[in-house]
């Protein structure tokens, strides 16, 4: 696995330069709670080659709102909705309520909840 670090400001520009529909296959989005903020990871795999997985990641503080990748990759809205429900991260255009109801335990995967 090859990990490439980017930042919330350059992230959309990096994605537009890197992503090519005929070469790369988008896997999913992942989020980690590091204690001081979130680490958001995006995984891509290459078609027709052995074990080639690339991960773009950046660090973002708890209250910041990050841009959604759905205009570029239309099938990413489900993964982003799951992260919003599980971690309480703020993503433009994605609302809460996909997996958890209003009367259940909120943001279960954050530390200390």
């Amino acid at each position: 696995m090859q990990k490439i670090e980017t930042s919330p400001a350059n992230f959309m520009a990096d994605m537009e330069q890197f992503y090519d529909v005929s070469i790369w296959h988008f896997i999913t989005i992942n989020c980690l709670d590091t204690g001081e903020g979130f680490e958001v990871q995006y995984f891509f795999a290459k078609y027709d080659s052995f074990d080639e997985v690339v991960c773009y990641f950046f660090y973002s503080p708890y209250e910041a709102s990050i841009p959604s990748i759905a205009p570029l990759i239309p099938s990413a809205y489900l993964g982003e909705g799951e992260m919003v429900d599980m971690f309480g991260i703020q993503i433009d255009g994605i609302e809460k309520g996909m997996f958890l109801d209003a009367d259940s335990l909120q943001t279960p995967l954050r530390r200390g909840s």
């Binding site: 529909v21 795999a45 027709d48 074990d51 239309p74 993964g79």
Partner: protein, 361 residues
């Protein structure tokens, strides 16, 4: 001006195996817009595996996320953890794991074909295919001791071994099964209610499948060459002769065709595994605790399964992320529905083979 009517396909429906809710906007029975709601069976598996269970108990927990692809879930987690903990796996254990994965693919595809036949109105074929499926599950019971949830894979290898008598039973069982598979395939290609009815229904083009990152038999039926068994090197697929099956058209007929040909491939691979099974131990001792991060991709019967595991030198993991194949396939399914007739919806849903317990973990 035409009015548009909104029809729900509610969370309980007679054609669904698991709860999922759609809301269709239709004009005179042609669908124009779809809203999907998944997450009815959310059980919080990711949080349970990082707080309540230790890392050695997680293979049995994670196998219970789905009933049909149980061995693939516990095998993916085990392969991911074995990368960040120091243990050597013997090649006999890897071959036995691959044997179970291919038998699992057989019975899962049989279930999907039976469900498709039932939605076409051909209930007699549904009963026949379920009878064939019992043969495969009997073979799995001989190997692991249980029909559905196997508890066969553990960190360090596998739990039970096969001897020459069990190997002979498997080969005899496949000898009885293969001519019946040929009969089923003839029915799916020539019978009027299964072939003419399904040509051109629920089609997706190759460009849309690539744009929406579709996977599994859905993408291979549209012409997209994507199969994780050709893109990973952990399990010995290149040694037992794997070939990718691709069809054209992307409609329900093409998907059934891909599944039937994949079953032929699986039978051939099981025979090759039993012939080339190496000698050795099946379980190695595990020492230490996991540290670092690792990821793995495997081919479940419905597509690509992805696990990400992070440990920090304690007995409970820090983070575990599961991405199931149906979760990636839902945007493609929503796109397929647009432009179809409302009466075809249960058949399209059954051919797509959704596993909602996997989607909403």
């Amino acid at each position: 001006m035409r009015k548009s009517i909104s029809i729900p396909l509610g969370s309980q429906h007679i054609a669904l195996l698991e709860p999922v809710r759609f809301r269709f906007e239709t004009q005179n029975e042609t669908i124009t817009n779809v809203e999907a709601d998944v997450g009815y069976v959310h059980r919080g598996v990711e949080r349970a595996c990082t707080s309540h269970f230790e890392f050695k108990q997680v293979p049995t927990v994670v196998a219970r996320v789905c009933g049909l692809c149980a061995i693939t879930h516990s095998l993916s987690y085990t392969l991911a953890v074995e990368q960040i903990i120091s243990v050597e796996i013997s090649s006999r254990a890897q071959y036995l794991r691959t044997l179970m994965v291919e038998l699992d693919r057989l019975h899962s595809h049989l279930l999907c074909l039976a469900h498709t036949a039932e939605n076409a109105g051909f209930e007699a074929l549904f009963m026949q295919i379920m009878g064939e499926r019992e043969l495969i599950m009997g073979l799995q019971e001989q190997i692991t001791g249980n029909r559905v949830q196997f508890d066969f894979v553990t960190i360090g290898g596998v739990n039970r071994d096969i001897d020459s008598q069990i190997a002979k039973t498997i080969l005899d069982g496949l000898e009885t099964f293969e001519p019946r598979l040929e009969e089923i395939r003839e029915l799916f290609e020539n019978n009027w209610s299964l072939s003419l009815k399904y040509k051109g229904v629920g089609a997706i083009s190759k460009e849309n499948a690539a744009k929406l990152n579709a996977l599994g038999p859905l993408a291979r039926a549209a012409g997209l060459r994507t199969d994780v068994r050709a893109e990973q090197s952990v399990l010995p697929y290149s040694e037992i002769g794997f070939e990718m099956v691709v069809a054209q058209g992307g409609d329900i007929y093409a998907r059934n065709h891909v599944r039937l040909l994949e079953m032929h491939q699986s039978i051939k691979m099981v025979r090759n595994i039993l012939e080339a099974l190496p000698e050795g131990e099946i379980l190695s001792k595990v020492r230490g605790k996991p540290e670092g991060e690792a990821l793995i991709r495997l081919e479940a019967p419905r597509g690509e399964l992805f696990y990400y595991v992070k440990g920090n030198k304690s007995t409970t993991l820090e983070r575990m992320r599961i991405k199931t194949p149906t979760f990636s396939g839902i945007p493609a399914m929503v796109e397929i529905f647009k432009g179809q007739e409302y009466g075809d919806v249960p058949a399209i849903l059954a051919s797509f083979d959704p596993c909602m317990s996997c989607t909403a973990k």
